[in-house]
């Protein structure tokens, strides 16, 4: 009873059961409304994408989901129970996350980082640590076994004793995912998992996310890389200026002209004019065809959305909210 089984809590909720249900989530900072009445559901076994131009409130919305912010209005429920607005309780409940700007524990080893992820699934306190009874040893051994399993899963097992800060960028991202998975979540939130990655690394991340999903863990992912999102997700929601513009399958979203307009910063009325020439080559609107074609193409050429966002990554962006 000290540690959970390695299979995440997906059992019990059949295919299609709701994992996450956010209703009317609103977040205001002083006079600024960063997120305005957003509804979002994630069903079990699903990969849902959340896209939107820079400053659309994606990370703020994420922070509301994970209890880092207390939403001004609205509620977030996980498997039917309303989540408390306390970060650690959210993780306890079964939602794990990664961060847009990687936040590992830099001076801990790779293994220790993942072991910290096991925190919510173990309960040995100070006394147990001091007395080192058989149960403590068993729990530590089990934690380590599970952590090693996850390191194998993410391909980091060979680096278990390296310091996290000495890992190359791509592996740090992987480690963050391994650490999040260590809490046996039912839902994994990924905040721009491929930011700064090259096409090969992006592809590897995609495979990793599919593998996570195949373990029965629902995934909600924020991303700027449109191709990544459209290849990956079963459903995509678009956030523009704090509001949910639309939600649907990648095909539907790709075709929607409002999305292109939002990314290009054009008022919706002018969309018709703006989207045709721009979308002919590489815009999201270009993918009029089946997603299969998109999948074949490498993600090298940036689309307008990605270009917009990476350019504007200043401290004034959405991540400004993450500062103390």
């Amino acid at each position: 009873m000290t540690t959970h089984t390695t299979t995440p809590a997906a059992t019990g909720t059949g295919e299609g059961g709701t994992v996450l249900e956010a209703t009317g989530v609103t977040m205001r900072f002083g006079g600024l409304t960063a997120v305005k009445s957003v509804d979002l559901t994630v069903n079990s076994g699903e990969i849902v994408g959340l896209i939107g131009p820079n400053g659309a409130g994606k990370t703020t919305f994420f922070n509301c989901l994970t209890g880092l912010y207390v939403p001004t209005e609205g509620r977030v429920a996980y498997r039917g129970t309303v989540l408390p607005s306390r970060s650690h309780l959210v993780t306890q409940a079964g939602i794990a996350r990664t961060f847009q700007n990687i936040r590992l524990f830099p001076n801990m080893t790779v293994l220790e980082n993942v072991l910290v992820g096991r925190h919510t699934r173990t309960r040995e306190g100070l006394l147990a640590a001091l007395l080192r009874g058989p149960r403590f040893k068993k729990a530590e051994a089990e934690s380590e076994a599970r952590a090693m399993e996850l390191l194998e899963f993410t391909g980091l097992a060979g680096k278990r004793d390296h310091l996290a800060r000495n890992l190359p960028y791509g592996e740090q991202r992987k480690l963050e995912i391994a650490r999040a998975l260590a809490s046996d979540p039912g839902l994994l939130l990924l905040d721009e998992p491929t930011a700064g990655m090259n096409p090969q690394e992006t592809l590897a991340t995609q495979e990793l996310v599919f593998a996570v999903r195949d373990q029965g863990i629902a995934v909600l992912v924020i991303e700027h890389d449109m191709r990544f999102i459209f290849n990956l997700c079963d459903r995509v929601a678009v956030l523009v200026q704090g509001e949910k513009l639309l939600e649907g399958t990648p095909e539907v979203v790709q075709r929607d002209e409002r999305v292109i307009a939002a990314y290009l910063g054009t008022p919706p009325e002018e969309v018709a004019a703006a989207s045709r020439p721009g979308g002919a080559e590489d815009g999201p609107g270009a993918a009029d065809g089946a997603p299969a074609t998109t999948a074949e193409r490498p993600t090298g050429t940036p689309d307008p959305g990605a270009r917009n966002d990476t350019g504007g990554h200043g401290p004034a962006g959405t991540e400004g909210g993450e500062k103390a």
Partner: protein, 309 residues
């Protein structure tokens, strides 16, 4: 309770002094999120600078004539030490581990205090500070010591000047911008290093004024007077909402008021008979700090400070 007006006046005068020192904590904190433990020592050094000016003047000079020079030298000493501390002790550590600047601040505080103790002539015990002669000024309900007049004039003046500076001058506005978002401020072409040094300098200058007020009020300066004064001023800054310069002054006044009231009246509370008097006033100030942190950690005028994200 017949001396209530007098206690009130005492408390407010004491509070104004705490407030002046607290501005140094709060400005620096607002911009670089650093508690400058050495600020109490910068205050103390201002007092010794002013004393030096007095000692350099021919004996028999009137204190009123000497005061401008004392102010000048006191402020010069404090500002020099404050800016030096920033430049050589804190700046190299910026962006490093969180504990390093705090520990540096402690080391600096000890070193400055000991330097005065060891090298200032006859500073091993308290040195007498020049005094305004004459009887207290009787204002009916209460009276004011002549030495306290300096503070009563200087504190509001300082606040007005500071308010004007922050809201009207380019540097002042840059300062506000830096305190809100240092990275963006830098991108906007603000020289944040210069802003930080300015904050240190203004804080030190105000501390020196407070130190002269302290000397005039108590008739002496002492190498260890910065420690408790620094603690109190920090309490005042937290009370008012750290980072907020108006809050610092208000926090100082509230703290001074609380201390005066506790010293005078707490012994009348049943069960507290033995905890009255000056011996316990520091304890009550500390209890106030704990209560504020417990009940309103963001202070009277502050925004929320809990480290959530």
């Amino acid at each position: 309770m017949h001396d209530l007006p007098q206690q009130l006046a005492n408390g407010l005068i004491l509070g104004a002094m705490y407030g002046l020192i607290a501005i140094g904590y709060t400005m620096v904190y607002g911009i670089v999120q650093l508690i400058n433990f050495a600020h109490g020592e910068i205050f103390m050094i201002g007092g010794f600078g002013a004393l030096t000016a007095w000692l350099l003047l021919p004996s028999g000079t009137s204190i009123a004539l000497a005061l401008p020079l004392m102010l000048l030298l006191g402020m010069a000493c404090s500002v020099l030490v404050g800016m030096g501390a920033e430049r050589f002790a804190y700046r190299p550590l910026r962006g490093g581990p969180r504990l390093a600047p705090l520990i540096t601040a402690i080391g600096l505080s000890i070193a400055l205090q000991q330097a005065i103790w060891a090298f200032y002539p006859d500073a091993k015990k308290a040195r007498p500070f020049p005094q305004f002669g004459g009887d207290p000024i009787d204002l009916g309900a209460f009276s004011i010591q002549r030495g306290e007049l300096f503070l009563i004039t200087a504190a509001p003046l300082c606040m007005i000047v500071l308010a004007l500076f922050v809201s009207k001058s380019r540097t002042g506005r840059a300062m506000q911008a830096t305190s809100q978002d240092p990275d963006t401020a830098k991108l906007m072409g603000i020289n944040t290093d210069r802003i930080i040094v300015t904050a240190f300098a203004i804080g030190a200058a105000f501390a020196a004024i407070a130190a002269i007020a302290h000397g005039l009020k108590y008739g002496q300066v002492d190498f260890k007077m910065g420690f408790i004064a620094g603690l109190k001023a920090f309490t005042a800054a937290v009370l008012g909402g750290i980072g907020n310069i108006y809050g610092a002054m208000i926090g100082g006044l509230v703290l001074g008021f609380t201390e005066a009231m506790a010293t005078a009246y707490i012994e009348y509370i049943p069960g507290m008979e033995l905890f009255g008097g000056g011996a316990w006033k520091d304890v009550w100030a500390f209890v106030l700090l704990i209560l504020v942190l417990l009940l309103r950690p963001q202070g009277l005028l502050g925004e929320r400070v809990t480290d959530r994200a």
